[in-house]
């Protein structure tokens, strides 16, 4: 809770909220440009979702990396760590506390942005629905086609799948924060931690493709122990962030099944626990 308070009082949170408002509001004000009687208007809803989810991804990843990379070295530099570790506080608790503080901040930030996005999306969907249904009624569309139109518009609005996409963004941020925690236990500078984490995040989006391409070249070894070992090691060092990229499908209005959310949660949990454990191994014997 303290790490959360610390970050909030560093005004990181207000900065994020400010940008989220600008981004989401800019979608709202752009709306008149896209309007036209021939258009169903659903692309406007897609645009709102696309910008909002993109902003959420960006903010949550930047916040996770920078905040986590900052907290630990700052405690060492200010010698605050001495006073904390001189209390009966296990080092694992200290690390977990820092990470949970960052995750709480990311969660609250995403929650606020999500509420804002969902609210605007709800209003725009209802507005669009009444407009389109009005047009359909004026043109005397059959009931079945009107219902299909309604379903299509509602699928582009605030759905459970949309919340699932936000959840996937949170999981992605949680993984990258735990990686930042691990790196900051042995890194001597915040800048190094930040750069490495962004590289890992970037490479994590391509690692699955690169791995598949590599293994397809090694024809004889594709099913052997070596390839499995390489796959495991690469997957541990570079988590496959592409798995969490459900945003595009959700923006298109596709339904995200519950088991996918569950699977992502389990993968996310595995990575977070793994990296906390690795951080603890690196931090347990560290001297100050």
């Amino acid at each position: 809770m303290h790490a959360f308070t610390q970050l909030v009082r560093m005004k990181v949170f207000y900065f994020l909220a400010f940008f989220a408002v600008i981004l989401i509001a800019s979608n709202f004000f752009n709306l008149p440009q896209h309007q036209g009687p021939e258009s169903t208007g659903t692309h406007v809803l897609s645009s709102i979702k696309s910008w909002s989810l993109g902003a959420m991804t960006l903010f949550s990843v930047v916040l996770s990396i920078v905040a986590t990379a900052l907290l630990l070295p700052k405690d060492v530099e200010d010698r605050t760590l001495y006073t904390i570790l001189a209390k009966p506080v296990p080092r694992l608790d200290y690390l977990a506390g820092k990470l949970l503080g960052v995750l709480l901040l990311v969660f609250v930030s995403l929650l606020l942005m999500d509420m804002l996005m969902t609210g605007i999306l709800y209003l725009r969907t209802n507005l669009l629905l009444s407009q389109q249904l009005g047009i359909a009624a004026a043109r005397g569309w059959p009931a079945a086609e009107t219902l299909a139109l309604k379903t299509e518009i509602l699928a582009q609005g605030p759905t459970l799948s949309l919340q699932g996409a936000v959840f996937a963004i949170f999981l992605q941020a949680a993984i990258i924060a735990s990686i930042a925690l691990l790196i900051s236990t042995f890194s001597s500078s915040t800048l190094f931690t930040t750069i490495i984490c962004f590289l890992i995040f970037f490479c994590g989006h391509f690692q699955a493709d690169a791995r598949a391409a590599y293994l397809s070249q090694e024809v004889g070894m594709a099913d052997g122990w070596f390839s499995r070992l390489v796959t495991l090691l690469v997957a541990l060092v570079l988590p496959d962030f592409q798995i969490f990229n459900v945003i595009d499908a959700v923006i298109e209005g596709q339904v995200m099944p519950l088991f996918i959310a569950g699977k992502l949660a389990l993968i996310g949990l595995f990575y977070v626990v793994f990296y906390i454990f690795a951080s603890w191994v690196a931090f347990a014997k560290k001297e100050f």
């Binding site: 610390q6 001495y82 006073t83 001189a86 009966p88 001297e287």
Partner: protein, 308 residues
């Protein structure tokens, strides 16, 4: 000290020699502590602490003195488990320093502490109290009590970022005392503090002593150590070169001090004549005792303060 080391070496490792010597359990036991720090590749490691043994009894105020870089802080960090000994071991009230539970009854004030600037004094103490598992009304009462003890009640809601050096040291001392520890470790508690602040911290150490709390402090301000400590160890280039009760260490065995008040010149002359008549005794010096610059400073500033 040399004899003391011989006794320690004769005792099997892990054996409680001190337990045999006294019924009271020791507050701090550092046995043959050696700490080497790795330097750059292929170079010899830097030995910061070299075979240091310290024993502090409960209620004792122990001062570790030495120049900068002599190994004082490293010894304290080893005792707190912040660095691992290269060899030897440390324990607090019989618990191994490398174990978390050894810190249950320890309060630590590092040199030049910087606490979280975004917290107020009260929030800082609550934060450290929670780290020690104190909650609710007990924590609130303890925080209030400590703020009064260190005279920061008026500044309790101010952010730490706005505290002066002396206030930081006092809030640091308060956080060290939050869980009512039986041992307090102070690393240069008055470093960079003005004489008034220094006096306040010294008075707090006296209060701790009165309450029976063991204090282990290190400083290079010798006058301060002399005022508050029962036992002193002198560490130089990582080695303990002298250790013992303060009174024994600083007493000049072959001299006697006689301080007179309102003595007439005739009386002084008579005493000098008596001394001259004695075959063995020799008058080394006479004159007026001098106050210290610190006492003069404190007296004058208080006088000035009372005029306002």
């Amino acid at each position: 000290m040399a004899g003391h080391r011989k006794e320690l070496q004769a005792c099997p490792r892990g054996g409680n020699l001190f337990g045999l010597m006294t019924d009271r359990p020791t507050a701090v036991e550092i046995r043959h502590l050696v700490k080497d720090f790795k330097t750059s590749f292929k170079k010899q490691p830097l030995r910061a602490v070299d075979d240091v043994s310290i024993r502090i009894m409960p209620g004792e105020v122990y001062g570790l003195i030495g120049p900068n870089g002599s190994g004082k802080s490293t010894t304290m960090k080893a005792l707190l488990g912040l660095v691992a000994p290269s060899s030897g071991d440390c324990s607090i009230f019989g618990k191994d320093s490398l174990k978390v539970d050894s810190r249950d009854e320890v309060g630590f004030l590092p040199e030049n502490p910087y606490f979280y600037k975004h917290l107020s004094g009260e929030e800082t103490l609550k934060f450290y109290g929670k780290l020690c598992g104190i909650k609710g009304a007990k924590l609130r009462d303890r925080v209030k009590e400590l703020l009064e003890l260190v005279d920061l009640t008026g500044a309790s809601h101010r952010r730490i970022g706005g505290y002066s050096k002396g206030m930081l040291q006092r809030i640091g001392l308060a956080q060290a005392l939050i869980q009512e520890p039986r041992l307090v470790i102070l690393d240069e508690p008055t470093a960079g503090v003005d004489p008034v602040g220094s006096r306040e911290i010294r008075d707090l150490i006296f209060k701790l002593k009165e309450q029976g709390i063991t204090v282990f402090l290190c400083s290079h301000l010798l006058e301060q150590v002399q005022e508050v400590c029962d036992t002193v160890g002198i560490i130089f280039r990582g080695k303990m070169i002298k250790e013992g009760k303060l009174d024994d260490l600083i007493a000049i065995e072959d001299q006697t001090e006689l301080v007179l008040k309102d003595a007439s010149p005739e009386l002084v002359a008579e005493i000098e004549e008596l001394i001259a008549r004695d075959g063995n005794a020799e008058l080394v010096r006479t004159g007026r005792p001098r106050t210290t610059l610190e006492r003069l400073f404190l007296r004058e500033t208080r006088k000035h303060d009372s005029y306002r």
